[in-house]
Symmetry: C2
Subunit: 227 residues, 2 copies
């Protein structure tokens, strides 16, 4: 699997994503017609991610968002009850998508090594396809309210657990070394994150997403595979 195959494989329509958001937030969304809600959620989220790729969520005013999305301030407040809720809404959905896609893809692997490769590739490819979303989810997590911060942390650990489980499975089957599994998973995760946190760097160096994914797999195998 390479990136262009991944994109065809994983169908991430904006309508579908906003549909999920609507389901999760029916009670705080005051507009009734589904089509209208989904259209406007797409505009709102696109606008938020666009603005927040340049400045922080806190620095983005509702007036900024109104200008970028083309909805009035009053209209915006029909889709969330306050600014913080908008942050929570996008973050929650971002984590959900990442988890869904990751577990879906891994399920296709039949042995630990294949699963590991799938996990690495699909995480990097997904963060490439949704770079603004991933960046936002990472960088704005600290501005979440306390209880939502806890959820973000749990999600991070959950993702890491996916890698830990794959590695442990490989240890049991004697394809991977039984050597600091938890740290191995942690540094793999760190490498995955670097792709969307430092995209400017890789882009300016003309490192393609496929090249990066292959390299991370190479590193992971160097640590894990029994010689």
């Amino acid at each position: 699997m390479n990136y262009s195959e991944f994109k065809k494989l994983v169908n991430l329509s904006k309508e579908e994503i906003s549909g999920q958001i609507l389901e999760r937030n029916r009670n705080s969304i005051k507009v009734k017609k589904e089509k209208k809600v989904i259209d406007n959620l797409i505009r709102i989220i696109d606008a938020t991610l666009a603005i927040c790729s340049k400045k922080s969520f806190q620095a983005m005013s509702i007036r900024d968002l109104s200008a970028e999305s083309g909805l009035s301030r009053g209209a915006l407040y029909s889709y969330f009850t306050n600014k913080e809720e908008l942050l929570v809404l996008i973050q929650t959905q971002g984590r959900e998508i990442a988890y869904q896609v990751l577990t879906d893809q891994i399920a296709k692997g039949s042995d630990p090594l294949e699963k590991l490769r799938l996990a690495i590739k699909s995480h990097i490819y997904l963060s490439e396809a949704m770079r603004n979303w991933f960046y936002f989810t990472y960088i704005e997590a600290r501005n979440l309210p306390k209880d939502e911060q806890k959820r973000a942390i749990e999600s991070e650990l959950q993702t890491e657990k996916i890698f830990i489980d794959i590695i442990n499975e490989g240890v049991k089957e004697q394809v991977f070394r039984d050597d600091n599994v938890v740290l191995a998973a942690a540094v793999i995760k760190a490498m995955l994150q670097d792709w969307y946190l430092k995209r400017w760097k890789y882009r300016s160096r003309k490192v393609s997403v496929d090249e990066y994914a292959d390299f991370v797999i190479h590193v992971a195998e160097s640590i894990l595979l029994i010689k």
Copy 2:
């Protein structure tokens, strides 16, 4: 070298750091007595980093800073001309310290492998000793004014270049593999950053700084060393 040896070796007194800041910002600091300036700069920076480990710099008001530092709002403005300058001041100094310590330590190594180990250890140990500072420098870089953002990017590339140079030296001496040097340096850097970006994770798992540094060295050697 382990962490406690590093701390004795590298003498990072707050007075010294604030002294350097004073030198760099003599024209914008209105207070004349050096001792007073240094004392208060320490209080201001300590307070800023403490507050910003909990919320963003933008979310920190001058009133917050006043309360935490014990200086009045008016007094604060004797040490910087505006809030943004305070951000720039801390960031600049943070990058400076990191670069100084890193190059100082590396110079002690006599061969590429030793230099690589020294570079990894000193970066991780330094980020451990100054975790709030490193976290702040990383996370608030995006809120810098445009030209200072450029400086931050240059600094990041410069640090990475240190690793690239070490690896290239090793390639020439045929101790390291000649295989994607730039990406190797990039992922090493990503692992270094994870230590201060995700300290809560490593702490809760009781991973010590020495253990983490050794593991990163182990990974780096797995990628680089000729078998």
